[in-house]
Point group: C2
Chain length 223, copies 2
């Protein structure tokens, strides 16, 4: 039998996706005390019998609560202290995951928890210190894209260069009213030789514009 | 009375300084089992009665073991899992600190632990997974300086622009044999308007070269 955990150790996940034309984050409503009814980042308390690592705890939380597997979890930061949880000294390792739009449906049909997508720049009050956790994850994501990392896991399975640019713009904005517009030419020159994505041969998106080459994530890409 | 900790929660510190013309890291020899006699990063197990946060645990470890206060601790990453410590499921939050050369003496006289400075790019075997922790901290420090953060806390109380450049070169190298030489003109142009350090009015370093303006860290600088 596992002894009672002390301090309380958890893994929480800031799960981002694109919806309603903006960067969104998944929130789950707490089903029990403390702070029952509050919205929070999905997560779970470490179960040492089940979890060989805290990343495994995070993956188990997503699987059990949301029937969800994510391609890549990134550790963001650890939040800890004597007063952040009314149950006592606690510690939460925060992870970030990017979810392709195609998988949103999988989350919507979850019957285990009440979940909703919130605007990542306007999410209201959250349980515990989760508003702070989410802000730190949001900021870390923005900083990575500022340093030219491409958040390709936010994109559908096949995507155009214009879609990459739009998603980067959504991630780079610093608030709901912030309208970031990257220069198309500079953006394309910067990623002309990017090895993070590859063309899907012979596949194009057709519409009002001229046909646009479709791309997919390259093997080995993580972020 | 504090209940027995489970999982085992610790804070460990990668404490960097400049010595012998290279970036060095402070190692402490373990005085008790497990892995007694092995070199390790200084650190301590969380004491919930004493520590309001894990950063406080890290500061207490440096104070108690090394009679040392550091200006700024930076959280690097959390390492966790069922097998990294023979005592069972454990978790260590790794912090990084930069120590001005002036304070090295304070560490050298510590009577509590056997400590030594090791080359940060050639430190030998360490206890537990501490070699991995140290590599991650070393790499994070290099990446920050690559992104033009200045590791000013590695410098003495007053320093010249040439000293800043030399320290950046030491941090940027990727191994003992790697000889990084930054272009002096480009380096100075980049930091011409830096607000991280300020001139010490009327103070110059004099020697074989022409007198060089002395600078100090600006108020509010953290990294």
């Amino acid at each position: 039998m596992t002894p009672k955990l002390f301090p309380l150790v958890s893994a929480d996940v800031a799960l981002f996706s694109i919806g309603d034309g903006c960067l969104q984050v998944l929130l789950a409503q707490r089903g029990r005390e403390p702070q029952k009814g509050f919205w929070a980042l999905p997560g779970s308390v470490l179960n040492p019998d089940l979890d060989h690592s805290l990343e495994a705890t995070a993956r188990r939380a997503l699987r059990e609560k949301l029937s969800l597997d994510v391609p890549h979890l990134e550790q963001v930061k650890t939040f800890d202290g004597a007063t952040r949880d009314p149950r006592g000294w606690s510690l939460s390792v925060l992870y970030c995951a990017l979810l392709p739009r195609d998988q949103v449906q999988a989350v919507a049909v979850s019957r285990v928890e009440k979940v909703r997508w919130a605007d990542a720049d306007d999410f209201g009050d959250l349980a515990f210190d989760h508003a702070q956790l989410l802000q730190v994850a949001r900021c870390a994501l923005r900083e990575r894209v500022k340093r030219h990392a491409l958040p390709l896991h936010l994109l559908p399975h096949k995507f155009t260069l214009t879609q990459i640019q739009r998603v980067c713009e959504m991630v780079l904005r610093t608030g709901r009213q912030d309208d970031v517009q990257l220069d198309k030419g500079a953006f394309r020159r910067r990623f002309a030789h990017a090895s993070d994505f590859v063309a899907v041969e012979g596949e194009f998106e057709t519409g009002a514009q001229r046909p646009a080459q479709l791309y997919r994530i390259a093997a080995g890409f993580r972020f």
